[in-house]
């Protein structure tokens, strides 16, 4: 099954490579990986989406922990968490499709970030599932280019 893993790592050069190389060396699935600085500039947070049975995911977590540059590894899958991904997508635009496209943008609470005579660039934010659905539904209009950020995730706050 799909797992979403949050990893705090040392904000040093080569850390991303160490993590990615470990996944490929051990033959683990790596669906997406995203990384950015945290409130502490010495620490970055990586969000990793992977797939595997319990035995494999348990190995993934242990192998992540074993890297010297990882500080904390958390499997968020079964914990209350918020998960978001950003989609930037440029679509073909025509007089005929314009209305439908704008309706769909509303459905996904997306935004228009750029518009030209024959193209429109939109952003959609949501869970990876929602992003998948959005891509499926926009596809008939003609996708010119798209970029996904990969998921980022965080624990839900406490009361």
């Amino acid at each position: 099954m799909k797992h979403i893993i949050s990893v705090l790592v040392e904000n040093k050069f080569g850390t991303l490579n160490r993590v990615a190389a470990m996944f490929s060396a051990r033959g683990f699935n790596l669906e997406s990986i995203s990384i950015g600085e945290t409130e502490d500039t010495e620490i970055s947070r990586m969000t990793i989406v992977t797939r595997g049975d319990d035995r494999i995911v348990s190995q993934v977590l242990k192998q992540l922990n074993r890297l010297v540059d990882t500080i904390k590894v958390t499997d968020l899958t079964h914990q209350p968490h918020v998960e978001r991904e950003l989609l930037l997508m440029s679509l073909k635009l025509s007089a005929a499709s314009q209305r439908e496209i704008f309706e769909l943008i509303n459905v996904f609470k997306g935004k228009v970030v750029d518009i030209k005579q024959k193209s429109i660039t939109i952003e959609v934010i949501g869970s990876p599932d929602k992003i998948n659905t959005a891509i499926d539904l926009f596809r008939p209009f003609g996708i010119r280019e798209l970029a996904r950020s990969g998921a980022v995730a965080i624990h839900r706050g406490e009361n």
């Binding site: 790592v9 040392e10 035995r55 348990s58 242990k62 192998q63 074993r66 890297l67 010297v68 540059d69």
Partner: protein, 573 residues
């Protein structure tokens, strides 16, 4: 000797840091990026630099030294090709968990990434085969990085650490500060075993009818041989060892079952599949040990102690994982065990039956020489007390089967990576670390050639190593598989037409050399070699060319289905 607060250049900081880490020997080779270091070395007297003839040799020497002494081995090589030549040795140390710190010179930091002369991204290249590695970009971080490198190499599960040092960093000057302590927030190995898990393990041990200890290199690394001996003898639990675990328990003790796995003893492998409790300590269920995993120890409740949590449930699912240092585990279990003991008499008798059914023995003919005989005689003559180094292949398995290791840190062999060419340099490294026991190498004619240049290092340093060359003029283990499983197509394994005269080769290097081709001349040569201490001595044992190592578990078979002899290769027992 320098003090904190002194202004030093990078090279002086390098040596002062090694001094603080109590480094005795550096195995190295100079080069462009290291010129400043070798300039500084000119006036360093307390740390001895051993000049090798190939950087791969340096890494195996460092590992041989580390495994013989328990102290980290140190390597110093230049950038580019010097660095890339260390890759096999680093990978070897990584697979066998040997503590090692490799220092590589690097092109000046301003040139990094420019495809400069003798530039290689050695940090990138060695990331998957080091426990961790560093590129030092600022001379002010050199001392603390070296401190961290030694800390990482030797704590938790040991392993190789690489420190890449650009030329300008080695020239730059700063105030020397040796850090009092090391704090690495991402590295906190579990040493102490969880008390509840230990209690559970003790309860299982106390009530087991057919318990079996399966132990590996973790016993040697953690210095747990005494605790293991106590547990096995007090509870009357038989012990089987992995290749790198040999010596953890005395091989001449009745409870010792020798090695298990692909070329293990018949009785050890039968016992694995018959035991009701398997206590794995400091071992990692390697595929050469388990054979087919689905049939491995299926009747047993499995306890697994290892310091590296990734080893738990990696190859074999266990019932009771206990993460922590093996010495702590065994000591805690001993404490937790009740006074009353199960009687394991029937179990030990069952094992004895298997032992009698398929004993490890061989026949001696007056006109030909068997490797088993050579190793067995060396074992007897040294009373199992030597430090024995091997290369990789048939002679390695025969050594494991016939040399009766009686104490820890006695076998130094490439278990995980299976590196041909490991033996000679590893034995040289071991000889620098150990001077009160004979240091003996069993090697093959294939493996010896792979790093034969290091014979110079042995001769030049007058090391009294015994190089016992098991010469069948074949890549014997590959030949064995070709005969058994590859339609007897002996492609590129027959070396007879191309091998040199090894006695002459040795003599050209200035090494004393003998030859033996029958039991009588072999005994004479062994005696002469063991008595000779003025430098290295090589004995070219011309053994029976096509002998094979048995028993053997064919790849992918259950470990109790062993091939016992070549005459009937289709018969499974």
């Amino acid at each position: 000797m320098h003090t904190n607060g002194e202004k030093l250049n990078g090279s002086e900081i390098f040596f002062e840091s090694l001094r603080r880490e109590n480094v005795e020997y550096i195995f190295g080779y100079p080069g462009g990026a290291l010129l400043k270091v070798y300039e500084t070395l000119h006036d360093v007297e307390d740390i001895k630099h051993i000049l090798v003839r190939h950087e791969q040799g340096a890494t195996h020497m460092a590992e041989g030294y580390a495994r013989a002494t328990g102290k980290p081995g140190v390597v110093l090589v230049t950038s580019g090709p010097g660095a890339t030549n260390t890759v096999t040795g680093i990978a070897n140390a990584y697979m066998d968990s040997s503590p090692m710190v490799v220092f590589t010179g690097q092109v000046p930091s301003t040139l990094i990434g420019n495809d400069a002369f003798q530039e290689a991204d050695i940090v990138g290249i060695t990331r998957p085969i080091t426990k961790h590695n560093f590129l030092v970009k600022d001379v002010r971080e050199l001392a603390s990085t070296i401190r961290k490198a030694f800390y990482l190499a030797t704590n938790g599960r040991p392993g190789p650490v690489l420190v890449d040092m650009p030329k300008d960093v080695l020239n730059a000057i700063c105030t020397f500060e040796w850090p009092e302590s090391v704090e690495i927030r991402g590295f906190k190995p579990t040493i102490k075993c969880h008390a509840n898990q230990v209690q559970k393990a003790a309860r299982m041990i106390a009530k087991a009818k057919r318990p079996l200890l399966y132990v590996g290199g973790g016993i040697i690394t953690s210095g747990a041989a005494e605790e293991l001996r106590k547990l096995a003898i007090e509870q009357q639990i038989p012990v089987t060892m992995t290749l790198n675990g040999l010596g953890a328990f005395p091989g001449d003790h009745p409870l010792s079952m020798g090695m298990l796995g692909m070329h293990g003893t018949y009785w050890a492998n039968q016992a694995i599949n018959a035991c009701d409790l398997l206590i794995a300590v400091g071992a990692r269920f390697d595929d050469r040990v388990t054979g087919k995993v689905d049939t491995f120890a299926t009747q047993a409740y499995k306890i697994h102690n290892d310091i590296d949590p990734t080893n738990v449930d990696k190859n074999i699912k266990v019932d009771l994982p206990v993460v922590g240092d093996s010495k702590d585990f065994l000591a805690s279990v001993l404490e937790a065990l009740p006074e009353a003991k199960e009687d394991h008499g029937a179990w030990l008798e069952l094992i004895e039956g298997w032992r009698k059914q398929c004993p490890m023995d061989y026949t001696v003919e007056p006109d030909s020489l068997k490797t088993e005989f050579v190793i067995d005689e060396v074992s007897k003559k040294t009373k199992g007390h030597a430090v024995v180094i091997t290369d990789v292949g048939q002679h390695q398995m025969w050594t494991a089967q016939y040399y009766k290791f009686t104490e820890p840190r006695s076998i130094i062999t490439s278990g995980g990576l299976g590196t041909m060419g490991y033996g000679l340099p590893a034995c040289i490294g071991a000889a620098f670390g150990v001077t009160d026991r004979p240091v003996i190498l069993f090697t093959g004619d294939g493996g010896l050639m792979m790093n034969i240049q290091e014979l110079v290092t042995a001769v030049h340093n007058k090391l009294p190593v015994k190089i016992f060359l098991i010469n069948n003029s074949y890549l014997g283990m590959v030949r064995q598989w070709q005969e058994l499983f590859h339609q007897e197509k002996y492609t590129f394994t027959d070396l007879e037409a191309s091998n040199p005269d090894f006695v002459k080769v040795a003599e050209a290097f200035g090494c004393k050399a003998l030859r033996a081709d029958n039991p009588e001349s072999a005994l004479k040569a062994i005696d002469e070699a063991l008595a000779y201490n003025d430098g290295p001595i090589l004995v070219d044992f011309r053994v029976i060319r096509k002998d094979m190592v048995f028993p053997m578990v064919p790849a992918g078979a259950s470990i109790s289905d062993m091939l016992l002899a070549r005459l009937n290769p289709k018969t499974m027992v």
